[in-house]
């Protein structure tokens, strides 16, 4: 299993009411559960990021329910209106129960 590393791109500073674009990507093979092991011929068990959530100070901004049809190294981008200073929290939920998380602070000014 590849090293799972999340990446997010968020401006460090914004004005109140400003619309910012948030980009996220996590390194993950998104094993679909349909692929066969070339050597054994057996199905490789499904293991995907099945859910992604971005929230600002506890309030969900954007959420995705994810299927195996999302590409390896899943990428999501969306826009947010900055209500004030605070912390954006990102969560990627893996089929195996792991939750990968990252946070970014946004300053005003």
């Amino acid at each position: 299993m590849a090293k799972v590393k999340p990446r997010v791109k968020v401006p460090r500073k914004a004005e109140v009411g400003e619309v910012i674009t948030i980009k996220t990507l996590i390194s993950h093979p998104m094993e679909s559960g349909q692929r066969k092991d070339k050597k054994t011929g057996e199905l490789i068990p499904r293991q995907i990021i099945n859910r992604f959530v971005a929230s600002f100070e506890g309030e969900t901004v954007f959420e995705a329910a994810v299927e195996p049809a999302v590409s390896a190294n899943p990428y999501f981008s969306f826009d947010m209106t900055v209500p004030g200073p605070g912390t954006l929290a990102f969560e990627w939920h893996d089929d195996d129960g792991s939750v990968y998380a990252q946070e970014k602070k946004i300053k005003i000014g």
Binding site: K3, K5, R7, K23, S71, Y75
Partner: protein
């Protein structure tokens, strides 16, 4: 048989490979600007070159594929680069030293990728970047070498390669390198495999044309290791060579073999002047 193999077989079988006379769109006119830096994707070929102008493979890709390389966040290979940076800073082996302990910042290796493969006097042959990395890991760090196509090696070659991004490929062509380049050239033009094909038939005689649904590039190596959609990940140049050889149903040489190093040397010379794009994004 995969469809692309079917297509090649069909063309080969009817003797049409050399004259795949379908009007091809050629390279596009787009400019590659990554994070504000303009890269050279088109340059006059060096002297004694079979082509007049050489183009980066980026110029043969669709707008959507191109877009993933022009922004370092969009580029899915950059997670590997970040992993490479973790490895760079992590102590390992009997020396209990990290790469950074000896080399400092990784940008101290700027330019290295642009000169690969590079002559190694002690070994009496040129080495690919992977060879140099494993030598440093075993000799200096006292750690186990990485496998050629391992996640660690790809992360490290991507990280080190990125330090040379924008620099022109300038492999040494004089001295003992000349023999290796000549050997690589011979491999380039030698037909192999059940389809009896050589590199030049696609990448010199028919670049810019469509081979079925694939837009043939000149087969330049300035973007490796490259993130390929087909691989859903990074892969080494020698993996790409293997893929080409399998397509023409030849038995591939091993990664890191003298044959592939020679071919790499020839292709580095053949693409001299193109900017390093590591880690590039392709289909």
């Amino acid at each position: 048989m995969t469809p692309i193999k079917t297509a090649i077989a069909l063309f080969a079988g009817t003797g049409l490979v050399a004259g795949l006379a379908v009007a091809g769109p050629g390279p596009d006119e787009d400019q590659l600007v990554i994070e504000g830096e303009t890269l050279i994707t088109e340059v006059a070929a060096p002297e004694d070159h079979p082509l007049d102008t050489i183009y980066s493979g980026w110029r043969f890709r669709s707008d959507e594929t191109q877009a993933l390389e022009i922004d370092d966040f969009e580029n899915p290979a950059m997670v590997a680069v970040e992993y490479g940076l973790d490895l760079w800073d992590t102590a390992a082996g009997s020396s209990e030293k990290s790469c950074a302990d000896c080399h400092g910042d990784v940008d101290s290796l700027a330019g290295l990728r642009a000169n690969m493969p590079k002559w190694n006097e002690a070994a009496g042959q040129p080495w690919s970047l992977e060879h140099w990395i494993n030598w440093s890991i075993t000799e200096h760090q006292g750690a186990e070498p990485w496998k050629w196509e391992s996640e660690e090696m790809l992360a490290m070659t991507a990280l080190i390669g990125l330090q040379s991004r924008g620099m022109p490929m300038t492999v040494e062509t004089e001295g003992p390198m000349a023999d290796w380049i000549a050997r690589g050239k011979e491999l380039y033009y030698t037909r192999v495999g059940q389809l009896d094909m050589a590199c030049n038939q696609c990448h010199e005689d028919n670049w810019g044309q469509m081979i079925r649904a694939d837009h043939l590039s000149q087969g330049m190596i300035n973007g490796f290791p490259t993130y390929r959609f087909k691989w859903s990940g990074l892969g080494s140049l020698h993996r790409r060579f293997s893929g080409c050889m399998k397509n023409i149903r030849a038995k591939p040489y091993k990664r890191g073999s003298d044959e592939f190093v020679a071919l790499e040397a020839y292709l580095a010379a053949r693409g001299a002047g193109l900017s390093i794009e590591t880690p590039a994004v392709r289909n």
